[in-house]
Amino acid sequence: MQTIRHRAATLVLESAILIAPVDSREWGQAMLSELAHIKNPWAAFAWALGGSAVLVKRSLICLLTFGRSGRAPDFGCGNNAQEDSMRKAALLVTCGCILSVMLLFAAPAFRQAFALSLAPWHWVFKQSAANDQEGLHKLAQRAEEKRDAEGIAFCAMRMWNGRESARLAEEAVRLDPNLTWIYAVVAVRHSELPEVNQWVPHLEQLDPHNTLPYLITAESRDILHVIREDIKTHGDFHDPEWQAAMAAAFQATTLDDYLDRVNALEGKVITRYGLTSPDMVLPASVSTYSLPTYTFQDCSLYAKSILEPRQESEGKSEQSTAMDKYWSVAHYGQMIESQAHSKYGQSVGKHLQRLAYRKLQAAAEKEGNHFEAEHFAYLLDLGQPKKSEDNPIGFTWGLRRASVAEWSAAQVVRSGLMMFVCAACVALAGGLIVRKRRNAGTANLPRRAPAAALGIAGAAGLLLSSVTLYLTYHPYALILDQVLAGDWTHVDDLQALVSSVRGMPPVPLGVGWRPYEFHSNLNFAFYFWLAVIALALAALLLVAARHFRLRPRAAVQV
């Protein structure tokens, strides 16, 4: 009775015979027949492995050299010397291209670029955005298993899912109370969370002079009213709690958005867990605001509520009080502008100063103090927004950076897509050649030149698209290296690339298409090219079906 090892040896050899070239199968059968006479199971297994290696090697050689009638090239495969030399050249080109691409995959920068090129497909294949952060979820799991408070805090700051972010933040603070400031960072990003109200007192206790907790409270009131639809615009809003929060915010003397601590913690966690993917390395502080989203509107509204009522009834003493109010707004704006780390925060500060200086200028002119009025006019002019500061939300990357990033992103996505298309061509060519090889013994064999051409073109395209991908991403890989080394100078460029790639459609044929606009914005170019591709695929399938239906049947091999 055969042992398991004998049966396994037989199975291995039989499998190799199945894929062996036709003229080698008899030899395979010869090796198989000898197996029955080898008593030692290990010797039988070694025999089968050796024999299989011979058959597989012959099969590969035959496949790669477009073997005709299943004959390996060393055994009379070619028609003549010229055909042989062309075949060898084709084989050399194809193998060279594929080998080069494999070598490129050995480079970490290329692997990063390839992974990045797949990012737009996440929107297609994932059910929700939360699923797009698999790496972060795994990291959070690891950090929780290790009870690493900083690792958990790192994940809490970056998690898109508000509930999960809040849970992680509370866990991090429970493990290390020194991380209480993490509540501020999470609250700024997820101000809709009910936990925010419980966090704010801790933040106020942590730093009573910091204006940030009060701004967070004001925003949470805003959101509450927006949810209840109590207000149509901010101008109608007179919530005492909001008023109290904003009054406390304007009395605060400092602004700490905790970005210094965020950057320090991120650096430690990135090193600790050996993170190298751009998605994981890019700092959370750049991608989002360092102040609550409604801060601009809240501060503007509250400042106006201070500045406007004093306009009408101005006696001598009241005028002095009004000037104090104007100055308080101006000082608060100066403080915000000087201490905010983000451009958004700085634009909030400038805006408040402009409001105050306008009032101060008017008051000075009314008093006949032209010198002071001119001084305030100068300050007002100084604070006028530049072109790039028109948008108070803070998207001040500028046209040039955004354009370069979008162009690079399109190249990355297109190159990644072309790699798949070309790899599919190579696979298709291989499949066609295998099928033709199995037609051994038939007269009137289909021509193999198209399959060979498809294979060579696919391999060359694969190399070209891989090199394009690598060269396009290479400058960003250098930026990533700098970031990992602690130099964050050009991180905005990398951030812009990653954001652009994420915003690209998987097939970047149209312009301005965004995943979240898929249902709302019809993009003619996108759907036009989608239809062209669908028709081309249908035609290809039709041709393939006709080919396989009409091709001559292989002779039965005995």
Partner: protein
């Protein structure tokens, strides 16, 4: 006809065949006698067969057991073996082990 490349392993196979030219031999027996693994032995047999230096046939040894492939050198094969072994023997005779006393 162009003769195949004669490697030391091929020479060992030829030597075994040359010892009893009329005898048909099985693959596994050849493997044991030459000490060559199947992955080395069969490519040699295939090359010899392709150059018509070796002839193979299927024989049924006993009922219920698959027929076995057996091999024998052709007259051309025997002549090649004779020549190559004659060329190799003086060299083998004069070859001394590197670690020997000399």
């Amino acid at each position: 006809m162009k003769t195949p490349r004669i490697s030391p392993e091929t020479l060992r196979v030829l030597e075994i065949f040359f010892e009893s030219p009329a005898e048909w031999r099985y693959g596994y027996d050849l493997s044991r006698e030459t000490g060559l693994k199947s992955g080395t032995l069969y490519p040699i047999l295939m090359r010899l067969e392709k150059h018509k230096l070796l002839v193979a046939r299927w024989v049924t040894t006993e009922p219920g057991v698959p027929p076995r492939h057996t091999y024998k050198l052709t007259p051309d094969g025997l002549e090649l073996a004779r020549v190559k072994l004659a060329e190799a023997r003086p060299a083998l005779a004069t070859r001394r082990p590197a670690w020997g006393k000399g």
